[in-house]
Amino acid sequence: MFRLFFTPGWFRGWDIFFDLIAVVITLLIAAYSWRLYRINHENRLAYFSLAFLLVSAGLLFKSFTSTVLYYTLIRDVAADVLRPVAGAGLSLSGLYYRAAFFLQMLSMLGAWLLLFFVSQKPRARLRKFYEVSQIALFAYLLILISIVSNFKYSVFYLTSSVILGLIALNYYKNYLNTGKKRPAFNVMLSFLFILAGNLALIFIFASNRFYVLGEVLMLIGFLILLFTYQKVTGK
């Protein structure tokens, strides 16, 4: 039988708060890159914006699931809403786990994969057909992994870690390519923290302290992203 969540009692609510901070940060970056896309009309900016929007969506799904699971009152209201659709024998745990977690995993994995593509590709390559077919293949794999992850939670974090490792590597190359500029270093550092957070979350089955560690590391990663965004855009 699977466990629904691994959050220590004292940390419940804090993780939602952390996630919501990350949602605001990712939405800011998505909005700014979308603005740049409207000016520039370069596809990579639209993909980049979409990737951060997907991170926001993933975090929102996670926050929603956590809120429903932690707080009984909200859980009862959600159950009343969903019962006509799900039927009288609504199994709350199964429904939430399979629906909301599935959407969370799909959004997050999609976001990381898109970021991986955008961070590694030279200009305009994403426009070409073979890249699109590659993305379609990976999209299929993502759906498959998201389904499998419903039964084994660590598969999701393991897959995320692999893709995040590749993203961090691409940002390390970018850091070298930009002549070791500080903002490029910060972006690389932020993704290293997000990667470390995901690595910690792989081991939540061993101890729920890993959940706290993972959430804190990811928050630091997103805060470094905010700091870089603020420094670079002056906003």
Partner: protein
């Protein structure tokens, strides 16, 4: 060899060339500084004038009887330069 400049980068190079010359430059100098053909520069200048990023001024000099045409950058043009620099910082940082 460097990659082909995008439309926005060309506009940035034109405006930067004007700014580097103290905000005012002769069209011939601008052509050399921005590394564009006469035809292409005129097309871009028309667009920039339409968007009020630059204006054409006529300056009288002691040497010439007729006034000389110069291209001057506007406040809006200077604002665009600052915004473009921020955009470039952002895209560089994220490797875009």
């Amino acid at each position: 060899m460097g990659s082909r400049r995008s439309r926005l980068e060309l506009i940035f190079d034109i405006l930067l060339a004007i700014q580097n010359k103290g905000g005012r430059i002769k069209p011939t100098h601008l052509m050399y500084k921005s590394n564009l053909s006469h035809k292409l520069l005129n097309a871009y200048l028309e667009e920039l004038i339409g968007k009020e990023l630059v204006i054409i001024e006529e300056v009288k000099t002691k040497r010439k009887q007729s006034p000389t045409k110069t291209v001057a950058i506007t406040e809006k043009g200077l604002g665009f330069l600052a915004e473009f620099r921020r955009m470039r910082e952002f895209t560089d940082a994220f490797g875009l």
